[in-house]
């Protein structure tokens, strides 16, 4: 009990004596967590949005001529030879014309002079979720292009490509900010503990001569790092939550966020970020203790 009381008292004293440095460290840890968590939040939401949009991905194969019903099983077999798909829908010229008419609704009169044969027949292919990866879809579309009677294959290639580039870029930013988080947390906390050790050098030396145990000297410094991690991560995540709520309020209603279903981290992700923050700061503290205290 006396031991615990001493550890807590000494930790509070360390924090109080060098409050300026401690505050700067806390600010750095908070900002690092905020930057990393912000990009990670965007990334996770983009991935979720990608999954949602992926549900609507379909490949449209435009044909030169109408396919007679007897040919359909053969074509289906050829398609499935490359990859299992969720669904294959054959659209005749007539079906395409009716569909367009429905889409134009009140303005379908514009089709009156054209007649049902100006639209090409097509096959709509709904790929399995496992195939919704950009590279696979690309290969699949190239295969479909080789089938006889196919004039064009369309699947929103450009859009998917851009989305893929964007998520790759975001992944890189998350990795970089994660690296920044690791470096800033361990280095800055390690540096702060080093400053504490240097400023208390005389006292630590006397404690050693008085017979203080290793744990007695080291624990307050370790706790200092742990508290920096806990407080910094909590403040960083708190700041992100406030930012998240502001974004939700500012961009509420129909729009991009509505489409993306912008959500905050799940409790387990919050716990993982807190844990990582504590772990990194404690590791930084431990590094300085092992390096600069010889008892």
């Amino acid at each position: 009990m006396q031991y615990l009381a001493y550890i807590l008292r000494q930790t509070a004293r360390n924090l109080r004596l060098a409050w300026g440095t401690q505050l700067m460290t806390l600010l750095t840890v908070t900002l690092s967590v905020l930057i990393f968590a912000f990009f990670f939040l965007i990334y996770t939401n983009m991935m979720k949005a990608g999954e949602r949009l992926g549900d609507d991905v379909r490949i449209i194969v435009y044909l030169d001529d109408e396919i007679v019903p007897q040919m359909r099983p053969q074509i289906e077999r050829k398609i499935r030879e490359f990859s299992e798909v969720e669904k294959i829908v054959f659209i005749s010229r007539q079906n395409a014309f009716e569909k367009l008419g429905k889409q134009l609704a009140e303005e379908k009169d514009v089709l009156n002079d054209l007649g049902p044969y100006f639209l090409p027949p097509s096959i709509e292919i709904y790929p399995l979720k496992t195939l919704k990866n950009l590279t696979h879809i690309n290969q699949f579309s190239e295969y479909l292009q080789t089938l006889p009677g196919v004039s064009k294959v369309q699947y929103g290639r450009e859009w998917l490509k851009r989305f893929g580039y964007f998520t790759s870029l975001l992944r890189l930013v998350v990795l970089l900010s994660g690296g920044l988080l690791i470096m800033s947390m361990t280095f800055i906390v390690s540096y702060t503990i080093r400053l504490t050790v240097v400023s208390r050098h005389e006292e630590l030396e006397i404690l050693r001569l008085l017979g203080a145990s290793s744990a007695y000297i080291r624990m307050p410094l370790l706790l200092e790092g742990l508290l920096q991690g806990l407080l910094g991560s909590t403040l960083g995540l708190g700041a992100l939550f406030i930012l998240y709520q502001w974004i939700c309020r500012r961009f509420s209603g129909p729009g991009l966020l509505h489409l993306f279903d912008f959500t905050f981290f799940a409790p387990e992700i919050i716990a993982a970020i807190l844990f990582a923050g504590i772990l990194l700061c404690t590791a930084g503290s431990l590094f300085s203790i092992r390096r600069f205290i010889r008892i």
């Binding site: 001493y6 005389e202 404690l207 050693r208 008085l210 017979g211 203080a212 145990s213 290793s214 008892i295």
Partner: protein, 245 residues
Amino acid sequence: MHTSTADNKPLIELVKVSKVYPPDVLALEDVSLQVLRGEILFLTGMSGAGKTTLLKLICSIETPTKGLIEVAGRDLSKIKPAGIQLMRQKIGVAYQDFKLINKLTVMQNIAMAMEVTYKSKGEIKKRIMELLDTLKLTDKVNKPAGELSRGEQQRVALARAAANSPTLLLADEPTGNLDPAATDLVVKLFKQLNESGSTIVIATHDEKIYEETDYRVMDLHYGHISTHTGKNKPRQIDLFESHRA
């Protein structure tokens, strides 16, 4: 008074101990010495004779270049760092340069020695006030150590060394900065501690504190024991019984 075979064993034993500081400064050479439990021993000799080195070897701040040192029957070279720290809790050392932290108060400086042994706050405060009363420093309790005179700082250093009622007290020039009145207070404290069971080794130039006593006096000269005087046979005290009590 309880005596046993264990009581007759020396608390400190040095066998042919030498200490050479780099590159080749010989501080002690083949020093052999026994200090019994409950004894007061004076180490005398001119500056550079090796008194401070001897005290540092006993409390394991320095390690000998050669020879064996045993404290309470244990070979210091074989004790692990954690064991050395535990041992230091039972040895009070009053350093020649005091080793006080100037920005901390007198109370905080002395409390450090007791906090490392996990004493309660109440116990620490009570003991500190007792010691300061003995050394006539009660009015300085909340003053930063850096604002005290050298003589006052020396007494604070002694109070810290005595705080845990140590099994062994090592004092390096404990009266070097004191006037006769303050010296008497320090001698009184040593006697109190010795009566309650502490073994005391005092390195000093100050003849006044030992010339009228029967305690053993050992004179060091250029790292060797040159004379060994003293009529007093060390008292036999069951140190651990008195500490348990």
